[in-house]
Every structure is written in C-alpha cells, then in structure tokens.
C-alpha cells in the first residue's frame, strides 16, 4: 500500500486526546459537544445562529514512503441545501493544539471550496514541509457557523478532499 493515509481527530482540554477516525464513512459531525463520536450529534445540536465546537483534524501517514508533502485540503461539495450554514476553517493550519471552543477562535475564513492548486496545509509549521517517516500534518481545524436562517434538522452531506504527493 505504500503510505497509508487516515484521519485523526484531537479533542478535549489541551493537550487533548487523539482519536483515529479512519478514512471512510461519516467520520465526524458538527455539534455542541467536544468529542470524537459522530453518532451523538442529535443530543448536542447547534441551534440556529450558533457555532459548533471546532473540529481539530490531522492527516496521519504511516507505512513505507520516502516523502509525503504538498498537502491540499478543500471542500468539494457544500451542504445541499446550505441555507444559513457555512463551514469555516483555520488557514493558519496551526502546529499546536488548542482546546476546541464554540466561539470565534482560529477558524476565521470559509473553508476553500476548490482545489487550492498549491499546498495549503502545513507540516511542522511550513507549507513546504514534508514527512519522511510516519507522522501527522499540522491541524486542519473546521467549524460550522450558522445564521438564524438555518432550518431545523440534519444538515445533509458535505464532501471534503485531502490530496498529497508521495514518493
């Protein structure tokens, strides 16, 4: 398989707990709870006008490879419909974990909605960084932001994409 990619989530009070999410399926839901459980979202709803807790993700690479670099992250599809809903992210892709919050913090702009063309996720603090052994990217932090126009109920699906170069 060469390099193995999977998603990892860190949650809880800093330094946080690391949870392996895998690669497929509904890996997380935006909600008003800070944990790595996708299924309990209905017990912790985001009320219209509120923000969810931030979700602190990282790409994890294991296996045999020379180099993994050029990490790109974007949202391939938005919620359908997306009335009153927007997904924010932290373009700084921080190296250091912070305890997730429901307010304004590191997620300061909309998550890219198209392939960024060049790396937009850092490794060890730099966009040109590379992994030469098993390890993680820096944090990809996203957060759901809603307005009072957001309808009640589940938000439908959004597709996120991560791309990388491997030699």
């Amino acid at each position: 398989m060469a390099a193995n990619f999977s998603w990892s989530q860190t949650y809880g009070t800093s330094p946080g707990t690391v949870a392996a999410l895998g690669i497929s399926g509904n890996l997380f839901n935006y909600k008003r709870a800070d944990d790595a459980v996708a299924a309990n979202y209905s017990a912790h709803p985001v009320t219209a006008g509120q923000k969810s807790y931030e979700v602190w993700l990282r790409g994890k690479f294991t296996g045999s490879f020379n180099k993994v670099d050029n990490i790109k992250f974007h949202r391939s599809t938005d919620f359908s419909p997306n009335t009153g809903l927007s997904i924010l992210w932290a373009p700084s892709t921080p190296s250091a974990y912070e305890t997730p919050v429901t307010g304004a913090n590191v997620c300061v702009s909309g998550v890219p909605s198209a392939d960024p063309g060049t790396a937009n996720v850092r490794i060890a603090g730099v966009l040109s960084g590379a992994l030469t052994a098993s390890g993680y990217t820096d944090y990809i932090v996203t957060q759901l932001s809603t307005t009072s126009a957001a309808p009640a109920g589940d938000s439908s699906l959004a597709i996120f994409t991560l791309a990388y170069d491997e030699s």
Binding site: N26, F65, N66, E166
Partner: protein, 214 residues
C-alpha cells in the same frame, strides 16, 4: 385537482433529472479513473472499460507501479513479494530506464501485452509507450528533444481522497442510499529535471497521459 397533477409532474421531473445526473456523473467519474467505495458494502466501482484489474492491484491499491532497470540488467520493483520500495531506494547513477506499469489490462489486440507501460529511457531522456491514450502532441514532446544536462529523477504519485460527511435529514434518510462514500483518485508522475528545465508525464488512472514541461 390540476394543481396536484402539476405538482406530481414537477416532482417526477426533478426526480428523473436527479437520477439521470447521478448516473451520468457516476459514469464520468469512473471514466476519469475515480474509484468510488461504499463503506457499508465495501464495494468499489472501477472503470468498466478496462478488461480487468490484475491481482497486483489488490495488493498495492495503485493503478500503476514503478519498475527500475539498471545498466547491469538487474531490476528493482516498487513491490516485490513482501518488500516495498520507494524513491530513495533507486540508484540513479546505475539507472538504464524506469517505467510505470499498469495493474490493469488495457483493451488491446490479442497476443499483445495488455498492460500500459510508460518508460523513461534514462540514458536518452526520451519516453516510450505501450498502450494507453497518448495524444500526438504529448508524443511529440515526450519522444523527441530531450533536455540537455545531468538529470534528476522525478517519480511520485499524487493521491486524492474525498469523503462525505454529515447526515441526511431523517425524513429523507430512507430514500437516500448514497451516504458514506469515499472517492479515490491517483495520478502518477514520471520525468526528470535538468538545469535547463523539467519534462514529466502525468499518467492518469484511466490510461490517459499528459505532459508537463517547465
């Protein structure tokens, strides 16, 4: 009464359009070489235009694997039994040629090797092809006018994973069978750079080959 009939017809149209768009977009994704995996069934849809995927594909999950041939006739493969090699294992000073070879069969004449092989002759700096779709424009750049000077190998794969996240509203869930899909797309880049420039091929998972020059 008429308004109800209009509403039904309108919904039938929306539904028919949606099903057509679903079928067409799925077909086009597959033709591009995107693999769609359903988490629940573990089924992966692969291009039907290829005659078959080889057993090797099930081991590496890669559409192409590289193979380096050295001047002394020895061969170094990316995957050999339990062993996996990467870029750092290739001795560029001893290299005679390096190839990406498909893990699926390309529709081809009987008696001919049906795999796609894209080979870079390391000594001449020229590319050679077997099967696959290569336009005349790509051939003219890849097979002529090699870059002068000492070569540095370019060999990597560009991988893309897309996964759906979220939940469908309960009132629609029973009619929505498409959750938990993962979309894989791999491309394979083979080429070289010298002090004067870069020449590389981008090998798409559907067998289409593009050129990259700088």
């Amino acid at each position: 009464m008429d308004k109800i009939n209009e509403k039904i017809d309108s919904l039938l149209k929306i539904r028919q359009d949606a099903m057509f768009n679903y079928a067409r977009s799925t077909s086009e994704l597959i033709d591009l070489g995107v693999k769609i995996k359903n988490k629940e069934t573990d089924d992966t849809i692969v291009p039907v235009s290829f005659e078959q995927y080889l057993d090797k594909y099930n081991i590496s999950n890669l559409e192409f694997e590289w193979e380096a041939k050295y001047k002394d006739g020895s061969v170094l493969r990316q995957f050999e039994g339990e062993e996996q090699r990467n870029f750092s294992h290739i001795d560029q000073e001893r290299l005679a040629s390096i190839s990406f070879i498909s893990n699926f069969n390309w529709p081809s004449e009987e008696g001919r090797d049906p795999r796609i092989i894209v080979r870079l002759n390391w000594e001449t700096g020229l590319f050679e092809f077997q099967n696959g779709f290569i336009s005349q424009d790509v051939r003219s750049v890849a097979c002529m006018n090699p870059l002068e000077g000492e070569k540095k190998l370019i060999l990597f794969s560009r991988k893309r994973f897309s996964s759906s996240n979220g939940e469908i509203n309960n009132q629609y869930k029973e009619f929505f069978p498409f959750e938990d899909e993962v979309f894989y797309y791999n491309r394979f880049i083979l080429g070289y750079e010298t002090k004067t420039g870069t020449k590389a091929l981008i090998i798409n998972p559907n067998g289409n080959i593009e050129i990259f020059e700088k």
